[in-house]
Amino acid sequence: MPQTPLVSVRDLTIGAKTDSGRKVHIINGVSFDIAPGEILALIGESGSGKTTIALSLMGHARTGCSITGGQIRVGRHDVTAMSERARQVLRGTEVSYVPQSAAAAFNPSQRIIDQVIEISTIHKLMSRANAEKKAIELFRALALPDPETIGQRYPHQVSGGQLQRLSAAMALIGDPQLVIFDEPTTALDVTTQIEVLRAFKSVMQKSGASGVYVSHDLAVVAQIADRIIVLRSGEIQEEGPAQQILDAPTHPYTKELLAAFEPVPHEAVAAGEAKVRSSILRVADLHIGYGKEFGREPALKVVRKVNFKIERGRNLGVIGESGSGKSTLARAIAGIVPAYRGTMEFDGKEFGMSLANRSKEELRRVQIVFQLADTALNPSHSIEAIIGRPLTFYRGLKGGQREARVIELLDMVKLPAALRHRLPSELSGGQKQRVNLARALAAEPDLILCDEITSALDTVVAASILDLLKELQRELNLSYMFISHDLSTVEAICDDVLVMYNGEVVEALPAADMSSKATHPYSRLLISSVPKLDTGWLSGLEQDPELVAAFSKR
């Protein structure tokens, strides 16, 4: 179809200045077109430059970055040659933006409606009354509850999924020709993600605008994009129609991305193989809460009536949406948040609820690995100091002995020994998570609590971390309690699964039977909400609306 593209980008180069003042190219000669009405996906891992490219279409480069070469044309405008003032006119009216985290992108001190119609206020597009009317129409089209009044609320008074849809209304108010979606569903639960994706898809079809959809998740992108560009280190690896990328990838990196999606069924430790199937952790009637205590019960009860056991050498997965209490459960087992009722038994002996009630030996045997290695590792300590600390604390190792053990541990998590002299900020996300894991291993624990340790990582990196966990388990006879919101991750590593909803375990069953035998409606909803690598999955998906209404806080 000989059609003038709406957007054409030629030889785009974007440079950045590192903290040390060195200049680097983060985008290297990228060229592509977007046809009117087409949705283009930019896919790649973090650091691949996908968001940087998307923002450059609005003439914006984040602090420290600048567009150093090439040409960007949007409609009749040459964005690269424009003045900042002229770009201000372009933003919101011709090109608009849907942010990654709407929760952070809404100003906490202004009403939602004022922010949704701000584009029309800034560019004087229409009267306030008309803008509000239009916003309410958009709210309705995005299937938001109470479209007439939701705008009067403040951002903290609506849910995350609602905010994400409200941010789409904010982007569409000025009738833009191009909408940029910057990982808009990454921060949402799978059950919420579906509704948001559906809403985006339908309003984009109605408006006829073109779109750029930035994501690291191929399965999500497959639902909404017409064409996919695969990026790595600021360069285009492969480009083609969505169906073709999924069915017949040609570039090795695309194949690697797709391979990370392949379900890797976990081979459970055979029942006969384990000499003694003794349980390492047994939890009965556990209740956990936060806040001031009123008569031995905390003000905020987060987890109720949890029972389970973990057998030595086997893994338990805990799955549920954000706010279901799964991380709180891990914290209670680690002793950080003492449970206020119930019992815990570790290796046949009663286990203290709080850190103060546990012996050093008991503390050593249970270790926790936190979700964000960025915040879990002290930024001003070297890797050696970080891993060496538990060695000195639990094992009394010092000097050369300690250094030798640190090198051994780094080797176990497949990191070079030279890394021990670096600071966490000098490591990549995947490397940091490995260090985080090595620190837990330093204590030589029997049980490691993994709290969403792969959710902040890119698909390929996360898959390699899972492989590492399995390998370590074979060598060290560990047990994992694996907390995740991602079903496929849990299936890849766990023997048993607990499904949590609203602070309670709604279903417990072997991981292998999860997809086929789960009976609880919430489990079914969760399973059916996981996006599949199939462009027709979302449009073909049917979920019982009553079920959805009952279980998702949308």
Binding site: T63, R91, G92, S96, N107, P108, S109, Q110, M170, V302
Partner: protein, 323 residues
Amino acid sequence: MCTLPTSFTPYFLIAQRLGIALITLVIVSFAVFFATELLPGDVAQILLGQAATPEAVAGLREAMGLNEPAIYRFLSWLAGLASGDLGISYVNNMPVTQLIGGRLISSLKLAGVTTLFTVPIALSLGIGAAMARGSLFDRVVSVLTISVISVPEFMVATLAVVIFAVWLGWLPALSYGVEVDSWSAMLRGYAMPVITLSFVVSAQMIRMTRAAVIETINTPYVEMALLKGASRSRMVLKHALPNALGPIANAVALSLSYLVGGVIIVETIFNYPGIAKLMVDAVSTRDLPLIQSCAVIFCVSYLSLITFADVIAILSNPRLRHR
């Protein structure tokens, strides 16, 4: 979001903050009373001088109630304080309230003029520097504020006297005794103490305001405003500033509270008839009731500034205002 108990309304939090301020005040007055008690020397002895007979000293002690237990004297002093009776000065036998009255107003005038002069200038410089971050203007402001912070105020005061009063002869070296009958005379009288105080106070305010605004400018919602086509001033004034209000109020209060301490040096150097000067004189004459009252007044002004800033921070938090 988790549901918090209803007691977390802003009014409850404000009441709580006021209660804490009151308790702090009682604790501080306790400390002030017993710290002054520890001052070396016997008041009766000092009042009567070297030649006094032991009988006369004992009689005076009895008459002044100095033989009562300390805790009893503290409680009755506290009761007097609460009812506005600050006691009788040892030295000139006048009610402390009368001694302090005029002086307090003079000091408040000085502080008020300094506040009116500094706050608008400091806030606009701080916000301006944050808006033009990394520019020449920002760097000039940063260098100036750092150099001003590093110079102690007695140095600034002395230099001001040398330059404006001695060399140029524009302003009077002393503020006391200047005829305050016209605007120009008043300006001339206040100019040097105000300039000296402003130097120190505004430098802190500029730096903290700049930091608070920059922190909010770096948030995703300000970037979002940029991507909606907002101009730089709209981004800062409409999106960043309202969310930086709490930290800015705290910065202003902390800086202004410095006036309370800084005023002692400035009033002494310029011989300004304020309450700090009164306190310095009271220390040299060991006039305990006067010292104690002045100390409590300083404490009250400090506490009310900090509490005021906290209340603004609570009220400017949308999560507390709209639940």
